[in-house]
């Protein structure tokens, strides 16, 4: 491990002094009293819940603030000794290269090569030098053989690699990553963190990562973590120190699962070594505490036989008639289940759900709802039984008022006014939106908007609800809110199917996990079993849970039971 105190002698690249910032559209400052120095070659992680100001801080580093988002600045920020306000956005980008959260927005070229070259094009670099440079950088991120590919032919991970190359191509000494893990499947996220680490070391970059998925970032060493909440820096310490403190829980950041498990087992965290290193941490003789906690809390759940609500037989589907996306899929979903469908990008998860709700026409097989064959049902007919909620609520919301939005589906089904009102109010009550019924939708938070879209589907009283990535991009508090809400719906007897990349979600909230790879179901079992099976993990691009490693370190012979015990315990402890 590197020594953080040696950085004192290094050159300061970024300095904040009593800095504050207030957007023009806000009543009060989003950032205040920020004092921070980042030194050359450091690797910094900035964490904080949504709305804490962490993205605003990032935007101050690359010049989007104040040049793209105007507002009032107090104090000062210096980039390599230059005052931020004396620069412009282009000069800032010579020091700081940024990789934004949404690879689709960042990837502006029509091919990988063109996109990597974008900054060089803007610098009027001659063609020959440009091609040479692009090939070199593409090699670093392992994309050299994809230069001709168009963005539609790339996976999420490859797109992100291209974006990273595009940010590196102009040789900015600082690289800033804004939520690099959002939208990536677990194994791709892991490789992304590894790649960032390698590049930082090989090319001597100063790296700043903004993320709320702490455990995933800590897969590789970081020098310091800045915890931000309520617009200011609450902690600036090494990962080990931060994990030992109570600050994470207080600020709605999820700590790594193995650390949470150790807390439950009353392990003295300050006595452990390298706590933040997910492979080399050492409990320092306290393994027995974890083991005895496990033995004391261990319980086994008996599966209950339930009626089938959806039965899929021999389902086949392809877009072009040549490459099967779904290849003879058989699946039975039971009444009242809460289940997850996982697998890497493009494995066929979303396609399967689209076939169920009728968005895609299947090539072969049958789908039964209870004991009715629904192959010939229209999209609208199926929607009465099976609701489908898109990932992005903004793609579903079409009215300005909440009441109208929820009533829309009923109106088109010809209900009378009174019935509609009763049904809408009932649904709004279930969704905790009744008090807001007369609000404009634009005044709601993302999580509330998500609820509105769920309500607008729920009002049709489907018995099955399919949700595509319900918690994507949400911090721990919003994630828990959405998931607890879905659990209450599930308790009312609604079958819930979640399509997700989020292994925590799958582990914590579902009783059953279906793994799809290359159009085939390769596993159908409990989440804890899936995440303990190395063969499955590799095939489906998943990531082993750190609880598994903890179980092994503590000599617990049944890691699956240990994971289950942890999850049940956590539900009991849950603050919500």
């Amino acid at each position: 491990m590197e020594m953080t105190n040696t950085t004192i002698n290094k050159r300061a690249v970024i300095e904040f002094n009593d800095f504050s910032f207030q957007y023009d559209s806000q009543k009060r400052p989003t950032l205040h009293d920020v004092n921070l120095t980042i030194y050359e070659g450091e690797k910094i992680l900035i964490i904080g819940p949504s709305g804490s100001g962490k993205s605003t801080l990032g935007n101050c580093l690359n010049g989007l603030i104040p040049f793209a988002y105007p507002g009032k600045i107090g104090g000062s920020v210096k980039l390599y000794g230059h005052d931020l306000t004396s620069l412009n956005i282009f000069k800032c980008s010579q020091y700081v290269g940024t990789v934004l959260q949404d690879a689709d927005s960042q990837f502006v070229g029509l091919s990988v090569g063109e996109d990597i070259a974008f900054e060089l094009e803007n610098d009027n670099v001659p063609l020959e030098t440009m091609h040479h440079k692009v090939r070199e950088v593409a090699g670093i991120v392992d994309m050299a053989s994809f230069l001709q590919r168009s963005p539609f032919e790339l996976s999420g991970g490859q797109k992100q690699r291209a974006c990273l190359a595009g940010a590196m191509v102009a040789d900015a000494p600082v690289l800033l990553f804004d939520e690099p893990l959002a939208n990536l499947d677990p194994s791709t996220g892991k490789s992304a963190i590894e790649l960032i680490d390698t590049i930082a070391k090989q090319r001597n970059k100063t790296v700043i990562i903004i993320e709320h998925r702490l455990e995933d970032v800590l897969h590789r060493h970081v020098d310091r973590i800045l915890l931000i909440n309520h617009g200011t820096i609450l902690a600036d310490m090494t990962p080990d120190e931060l994990l030992c403190s109570d600050l994470l829980e207080q600020n709605g950041i999820r700590e790594p699962l193995y650390v949470a498990a150790m807390r439950y087992a009353d392990v003295d965290l300050s006595q452990t070594k390298h706590l933040s290193d997910d492979t080399h941490y050492d409990l320092n003789g306290q393994q027995h505490l974890v083991k005895s906690w496990y033995q004391a809390n261990r319980s086994v759940v008996q599966p209950i036989e339930k009626e089938a609500v959806l039965t899929i037989n021999d389902l086949c589907f392809s877009y072009d008639g040549i490459h099967p996306i779904l290849d003879h899929v058989d699946l039975t979903i039971h009444q009242g289940e809460m289940m997850a469908i996982v697998g890497k990008n493009g494995a066929g998860k979303s396609t399967l759900s689209k076939c169920i709700v009728g968005f895609e026409k299947i090539d072969g097989g049958t789908i039964f709802y209870k004991d009715l064959c629904i192959n010939d049902w229209t999209i609208k007919e199926r929607a009465n039984a099976i609701g489908y909620v898109l990932q992005n609520p903004n793609q579903m919301i079409c009215k300005t008022m909440i009441y109208d939005e929820v009533a829309l589906g009923l109106l088109s089904r010809g209900y009378d006014k009174d019935t509609i009102e009763t049904k809408v109010y009932d649904t709004l009550k279930i969704c905790g939106l009744y008090e807001y019924r007369n609000w404009p939708i634009c005044a709601l938070s993302y999580g509330q908007k998500k609820r509105v879209t769920i309500a607008s589907i729920l009002v049709l009283e489907p018995s099955v609800l399919i949700l595509d990535e319900p918690t994507a991009g949400q911090d721990y508090r919003h994630y828990s809110e959405i998931m607890e809400f879905l659990t209450t719906l599930n308790d009312r007897g609604i079958t819930i199917i979640l399509i997700t990349h989020d292994m925590h979600l799958m582990l914590e909230y579902t009783d059953r996990c279906v793994v799809i790879t290359d159009g085939k179901i390769i596993a159908d079992t409990a989440g804890s079993v899936v995440l303990s099976d190395p063969r499955l993990i590799e095939k489906a691009y998943l990531k082993r849970t750190s609880l598994y490693d903890l179980a092994q370190k503590c000599d617990i012979n049944d890691p699956v039971a240990f994971i289950d015990t942890f999850i049940r315990h956590e539900h009991k402890e849950s603050p919500l």
């Binding site: 806000q26 009543k27 009060r28 300005t400 404009p440």
Partner: protein, 185 residues
């Protein structure tokens, strides 16, 4: 007239995406009109809306690029006179940009009237003058014939442009936040 920027990077992106929307709507969205076997072209309402938000240059380019590409995709080659007409609709209705401030959430009934007047004007110049004249020059066609085609296009396009762009502007202005209005409780 206000000193609004003419063509920033944001305008450029808005134009690019607007043109992409133009193509998607032209190619995929078919709304049957009250006259049997004809469809309403809703594209111009969207083009005018983008004009209000991003300005006349953006509006004109959306028509120019969007129509050229969608024609090329559907027919293999653009009909230039009508492409020019689309550009004119965007430019004229885009003049609203100078009279309004929709980005700050303001869109009044008066603004709606101005938008309608400019939309009708734009459609009139486009389909009663530019497109027929272009077709006449390009293919040496009789004026009556090309004008009759233009008149039909004018009738349906002017109505849809007004109705849809006004509805979209009202809806959009409601999603914009006003300065200094956001606060966390």
């Amino acid at each position: 007239m206000s000193k609004k920027p003419l063509f920033t990077t944001k305008t450029l992106v808005g134009t690019g995406l607007g043109a992409a929307l133009f193509i998607v709507l032209t190619m995929f969205v078919k709304v049957p009109s009250p006259i049997p076997n004809t469809t309403i072209n809703i594209t111009y309402g969207v083009e005018a809306f983008f004009g209000v938000v991003f300005g006349p240059i953006a509006g004109g380019l959306i028509g120019l690029i969007g129509h050229t590409i969608s024609d090329s995709l559907m027919w293999g080659t653009p009909s230039w006179a009508w492409v020019a007409g689309s550009a004119v609709v965007g430019i004229v209705s885009g003049l609203c940009y100078y009279f309004m401030d929709i980005e700050s959430g303001k869109f009044s009934v008066k603004d709606a009237v101005i938008l309608c007047v400019l939309s009708v004007l734009g459609n009139a110049i486009a389909w009663l003058l530019v497109a027929p004249a272009g077709d006449m020059i390009q293919y040496a066609q009789p004026w009556d014939y090309v004008f009759a085609q233009g008149l039909m296009a004018f009738g349906s396009n002017a109505i849809t442009t007004c109705v849809l762009s006004v509805l979209l502007c009202f809806a959009y202005s409601k999603t914009r936040v006003k300065k200094g209005s956001l606060d966390i409780e």
